[in-house]
């Protein structure tokens, strides 16, 4: 992962081609960006944190994150569309739970980064 010297403007066309060949394709890049965007919001981070501790219904999540039920519902839908949470209905109550086992490691990496600054 050691960076070579920049060949600025005189870059070897083969090297340029090699990098461009190996860059993730547009669809992959787009899906990766979407994935990270999901984590780029405090409300969703809190929801994911609480769900990493416990399966929870919408009302309780609303109370825990301090946001209106509607806001939480909207965010839960987004999380569900991105395959990060799943739901289970029990009567009129809907319980949400994590649907991705990597959430903890992703949180850990982010914490590592922000702790290394300053």
């Amino acid at each position: 992962m050691e960076a070579k010297t920049c060949l600025c403007k005189n870059i070897d066309p083969q090297e340029m081609q090699s990098m461009q060949n190996e860059v993730p394709n547009a669809d992959t890049i787009s899906r990766m960006a979407e994935f990270f965007k999901v984590f780029g919001d405090g409300t969703r981070l809190k929801i994911l944190y609480y769900l990493s501790r416990h399966e929870l219904c919408v009302a309780d999540l609303s109370g825990l994150v301090g946001m209106q039920q509607s806001a939480v519902s909207h965010q839960l839908k987004l999380l569900r569309l991105n395959h990060l949470v799943k739901l289970r209905k029990e009567g009129s109550t809907v319980y949400y739970a994590l649907d991705d086992c990597h959430v903890d490691s992703i949180f850990a990496l982010a914490l590592l980064h922000i702790q290394e600054q300053k």
Copy 2:
């Protein structure tokens, strides 16, 4: 804002309290969200990918990601403010390189997630 009606039917109140005590504080949550936001854009992802391969000047990055020099400059500033890239000046040329050793593992986690979805 308290949950009015659903008083944690399945969760004992101690666990509820424990979760609220252990949730990352507002500043940490905010910084984590900022961190993920940086990765939530295709142009920045491509820049980070190329920099993980080579130290590169702005002009070459601009060519590689297919974006105007100005756009790349703006994004590089954002990446620098978030301690993800560092710069080295040589005459009028500015070379950028990664400044965070976790970028590869973060990319790997994201790829893992999107590959697990069908």
